[in-house]
């Protein structure tokens, strides 16, 4: 018995129902490349995702269609995922910030001024 599908391409392929697929082989995938796009000349590139590719040239080729085809892109970078160095999630506590030290954040004073002014205004009404 061969597969009869509504998709004529599947029917044409004459796939046997008894043994429809080859046995899965061990993974032999291409490496991944991280993709960065730039929306405007002069702006910083931003990470948008990754693609599988055998080399950088083909990674750029795929990245263009996968991430750059809806306009808003003037330039693409790709970098082998294996070339990215990263922190361990085990060390995520290094990013924790104590509440009392928020005065060390760049946005602290400006925002607090505004909040205080808003509160005072509310009380005076």
């Amino acid at each position: 018995m061969k597969i009869q599908s509504l998709d004529p391409r599947i029917t044409r392929s004459e796939i046997e129902l008894e043994k429809p697929f080859d046995e899965a082989k061990e993974l032999d995938q291409w490496q991944t490349y991280e993709v960065f796009h730039q929306t405007k000349r002069g702006q910083q590139h931003q990470h948008v995702g990754c693609v599988h590719a055998p080399n950088a040239e083909m990674a750029l080729l795929f990245a263009k269609e996968v991430y750059g085809r809806r306009g808003l892109c003037v330039n693409l970078w790709v970098a082998k995922s294996s070339n990215i160095f990263a922190t361990d999630y085990e060390d995520a506590d290094i990013f924790e910030c104590e509440e009392v030290k928020t005065y060390r954040d760049p946005g602290y004073y400006k925002v607090m001024d505004r909040i205080k002014a808003f509160k005072e205004k509310q009380q005076s009404i």
Binding site: R9, H52, E57, L61, F62, K64, E65, V66
Partner: protein, 256 residues
């Protein structure tokens, strides 16, 4: 430069063959959607197939403005004998190397044809040529990179690519079959002609093929697959049209 009445007939003939090529290869290549070799390539190939349909629509629009009827009707209501596409675009998708090699030969010809048409005396055509320049540049870039990649990847890929090349080359030469208005197109500055295009194409593709480690057959020893431009098609076109137009023909007046 003023275009004569005969010139307009010549333009229609040119537009038909270009638009039909785009429509048919677009439909063929879309048959890979969902079945492509890897996800990224599936997306890229499908997207390019969609571009091709867009290009055909732009050309059918011009024909429509010249009095040839509604673009959908032109695209979906003709029989095989009324089509002007070349044999290369009609063949079934085959194995992936066949589709890639066809894409390579076809899109390199497209790139050069539209480059030439950017200077056409017929303004609507030069406008389209400039507008779709970037898309076609990507299409040929995509094809060129795949050819050089697979020409040297492994023993198997090399053999497969060379066989696909031998199979597609006579079909590819059929792209340059002249229509009956060839001289008019040239004398009225509409299009420089198929001979010039073919010469430029030969020099472009032979460079890439050589770099990829593949061999181009001796052109003079090959019989080009001709007839498509005059309505003589392969056995593959009519079944494609039947499938492509199946839904449209249920109710041609339906609003989409």
């Amino acid at each position: 430069m003023n275009i004569s009445e005969k010139g307009f007939e010549a333009i229609k003939d040119l537009l038909y063959k270009m638009a039909d090529d785009q429509l048919i290869i677009g439909h063929r290549n879309s048959e890979w959607t969902g079945l492509g070799p890897v996800l990224e390539e599936d997306i890229a190939f499908s997207s390019m197939a969609q571009d091709k349909l867009g290009h055909s629509q732009a050309l059918y629009d011009v024909l429509s403005q010249m009095g040839e009827g509604d673009p959908d009707t032109i695209a979906f209501m003709r029989n095989a004998e009324q089509f002007h596409c070349c044999h290369l675009v009609e063949y079934p998708i085959g194995e992936y190397e066949f589709s890639l090699m066809r894409h390579f030969f076809f899109d390199n010809a497209e790139l050069l044809r539209f480059e030439m048409l950017a200077d056409s005396s017929f303004e609507p055509l030069s406008f389209i040529a400039k507008k779709i320049k970037g898309e076609i540049k990507y299409h040929s870039m995509h094809a060129d990179i795949w050819i050089s990649q697979l020409g040297s990847a492994s023993e198997e890929s090399k053999i497969r690519m060379q066989n696909a090349l031998n199979e597609t080359f006579p079909l590819a030469l059929g792209v340059f079959e002249k229509g009956i208005f060839e001289d008019v197109l040239k004398s009225e500055g509409i299009f420089e002609g198929e001979d010039v295009l073919k010469e430029r194409w030969m020099s472009a593709v032979s460079q890439i093929i050589e770099k990829a480690g593949l061999k181009l057959p001796e052109v003079n020893s090959i019989t080009p697959s001709l007839g498509g431009r005059r309505g003589k098609h392969t056995e593959y076109l009519q079944p494609l049209l039947d499938e492509m137009t199946e839904v449209f023909r249920i109710d041609p007046s339906a609003e989409w």
